[in-house]
Amino acid sequence: MTPVIEMRNIVKMYSNGVVANKGINFSVERGEIHALVGENGAGKSTLMKILYGLEQPTEGELLLDGKTVEFKSPQEAIANGIGMVHQNFMLVPSFTVAENVVLGAEPLGKGGMLDTKQALQVTADLSKQYGLRVDADAVLDSINVGMRQRVEILKMLYRGAQILILDEPTAVLTPQETQELFVAVRALVDQGKTVVFITHKLREVKEISDRVTVMRDGKLIGTQNTADTTTEDMARMMVGREVFLNVNKAPQNRGDKVMEVQNLSYVSEVGRVMLRNVSFNVYAGEVLGIAGVEGNGQTELVEVLTGLRPAASGDAMVHGKVVTSKTPREVRMAGVAHIPEDRLTNGLALDASIEENLIVDRYFDPPFRKGLMIDRKMVLKQGQDLIEEFNIRTPNGQLPVTSLSGGNMQKVIVAREFSSNPKVLIASQPTRGIDVGATEFIRDQLVQKRTDGAAVLLISADLLEVMSLSDRIIAVYEGEITGVFPDAASVSEEELGLYMLGVKRQSFEEMEAYL
């Protein structure tokens, strides 16, 4: 049987000289779910962008159903039934879901205007057909990431995509949403579609895919039937060495109270109460994990604690010094570091160089500041050191952050925040989009910081991550703390789940002693 897609000898060199694909032969069978894995910067997104016509290969050819094709643009790829959902979404925030779905191929009504009714109808139909649940008339701005992603997929299906490329779709999803996505993906395949699926979570590869291809350093290492391989094998093929996915934690040595949060409340711009009288402490030498389904106040909590939003009432203190309603600079000066959940919004200036992204919290003090000037030698040196220490894949630190792969962008943030020697480290989704090797590294570092005496507040959609890294866990639901578990090791996933969904609740008296 001829494969639906065959990519032969693909070479891709970017204009800055980075060779992202070095002669790749890759094929996909009709009707399969094909997982594509590999370290950050291995060239996965690049290969798929070539397939989708977004990047042009420097060399090599593309065959669709055995026939040579050439896609100069995504439009041409879509016309040939190939659709892609990107690592970073590309939707119009002020449009409704339905408008986004039909954008570019709108059903027109009288006078050439958009036929809104029909747009809603097709969106609803597609949504039902593939089990991709969306609110067709909701404005995009108001829906969460999971639904946005479903909108992206629907958009591709609406254009008639037969082959769907999903670039790290689960990186932004909660475990529940991931399961929903998998159900939808299976439905797609049952209805004759083909799916290529990029992920860093090897568990997911095992769960969903028929075959898996491993890439490393721009080369294709191998393609196998998923059933014939183990996650350990895959990890080894990806990284080229043994990987330990379990965290080894030194025994906890809990110190003094470092951060104290008292009766914190936050009301959103539209008047919704996002945080309700939240109180807890974080101690030196512990990782306090926050378990909750995304959208239950975690984002707001982190942003209030880091000075990005004002509190409605209540206080947070670091070593007794109030940090609520202070500027981000003041909060940072009090010793708080922050890995933001959305790296592209807050965490990075994409067009600025890597070096410059690494000094935003420290450029104004020696050794980075020398007299009136910024000491460029120090900036350069720190850049080199951190690039090496955190294994950021780039030719040099003067390149703009845009030239990095998604996971390497995340490493830039992690490098900056970890290297600031924080007393309190607030880490939101620290390993989102990061490959197994680097995840291992970041988790180790996080635990190391805690063992060295920092207070770590960990927020992650990955429940297993919260459970394996934390010493203590609090569960949140709708902006309130529903439970606290002083010994993270002794709580089960199911138990935690009940608190995260607000089914079970501890009384304040029960929690008081442990918060």
Partner: protein
């Protein structure tokens, strides 16, 4: 080849030259279509500014003004603040500097001139603080507020000129000439003899030339070497990131508007004290807005502003001459200018060339030449 392209400064230079050449070529085509005597007209345009010594002077003088306003615009634009305040700042700069020379009784010429120039810078600064504050703290759209402030500045200029500065009973609306003793000296030192004679008689290229060079260096230094410049650039790159990282974005925005005003104020001083040596009606005629072209062409990098200022000044000077000496209208020249702006702001041109070069030089080593962050931020290494 590859090495040369790796040097971002060279690439920028090539980009500007390329854009100007293509635009000139298109200009020639337009001329051929429109003019009775296309070769004569085009020659006047292309070579006019160099054809006579005083025309050469006109070109350089105008370029100096353009470079000052270009710097001004480059600084606010770098922070992605779309201030159009340069025009008003320039007008007030001219008003203040001319008035100081005319009316402030400081004996020493050096001191009076210095005070006049500093006063122009100061008024530009203040005229920047206002829209900066309105934008940063009250979220007022800077395009609207700066246009309003420009109108106010212009009316103030006209008012003071008509009712206070114009000599009583004069039949024209202009000030007296600045007293000879208090005019800014020619850039040529006296001991240069013949050259000094030539330049000081036929041109008004003054010490403002040196101030302009210093301003470019200082502007570049400020932008690429100081903490303030870093803050400015990060705000321009992603203001949310800047805020998250701890930068006091509001304060930096106000300062960006204000510091940009200093350079526009200096442009005004140059008009009053360097070019006209008096205050006249319509002293600016929109020069402040031309700063946008100059800055855009220079990718908001102060070091490239002189180059783009000279190039653009040359076009304007050539246009003037062609308009006067042929049947071509100014409109055609505006067409060429618009083409240049388009070509220069089309990001795509150079990367394509560079990619070709990379490919021809073999590949596969993985360590390539540096892409330039943010259109040349770290340009001069």
């Amino acid at each position: 080849m590859r090495k040369i392209f790796a040097n971002a400064a060279v690439r920028e230079f090539i980009r500007i030259v390329l854009a100007v050449s293509i635009a000139l070529l298109l200009g020639l085509i337009v001329t051929l279509l429109v003019s009775e005597d296309p070769w004569g007209a085009y020659k006047a345009f292309l070579l006019g500014p160099l054809s006579k010594f005083n025309r050469f002077g006109d070109w350089i003088e105008e370029s100096i003004t353009l470079i000052f306003v270009g710097l001004s615009v480059a600084i606010v634009f770098k922070a992605k603040q779309f201030s159009l305040a340069a025009e008003g700042q320039l007008i007030l700069g001219a008003l203040v500097s001319g008035s100081v020379i005319l009316f402030v009784p400081i004996e020493s010429a050096f001191l009076r001139i210095t005070v006049a120039v500093l006063a122009a810078a100061a008024v530009g600064f203040i005229w920047g603080v206002i829209p900066g504050y309105l934008k940063a703290y009250l979220d007022a759209n800077e395009i609207v507020s700066t246009l309003m402030l420009n109108a106010i500045a212009l009316k103030m200029y006209d008012y003071f000129l008509t009712y206070h500065i114009k000599p009583e009973g004069a039949g024209y609306t202009a000030s007296d000439f600045l007293p000879k003793a208090y005019q800014v000296p020619s850039f040529m030192p006296k001991f240069a003899g013949n050259l000094y004679e030539m330049f000081s008689k036929q041109t008004n290229i003054t010490h403002f030339l040196y101030i302009m060079i210093a301003a470019c260096v200082i502007g570049w230094f400020l932008m690429y070497r100081t903490p303030f410049g870093y803050e400015l650039r990060m705000i321009g790159a992603n203001i949310k990131f800047a805020r998250y990282g701890g930068i006091n974005t509001k304060q930096v925005i106000v300062l960006a508007f204000a510091i940009s005003g200093i350079f526009a104020g200096l442009a005004g001083a140059h008009l009053a004290q360097g070019i006209h040596n008096k205050l006249i009606l319509n002293i600016s005629m929109g020069l402040g807005f031309e700063g946008i072209v100059v800055a855009t062409m220079a990718r908001n990098n102060p070091l490239f502003v002189p180059l783009s200022g000279l190039a653009y000044g040359y076009l304007r000077a050539g246009a003037d001459i062609m308009e006067r000496s042929s049947d071509m209208s100014r409109e055609m020249v505006l067409v060429v200018q618009a083409l240049i702006i388009l070509l220069v702001s089309a990001e795509g041109i150079l990367p394509v060339i560079q990619q070709r070069v990379n490919l021809n030089n073999g590949k596969g080593d993985g360590v390539g030449t540096a892409a330039v962050p943010e259109g040349g931020s770290d340009v001069i290494q």
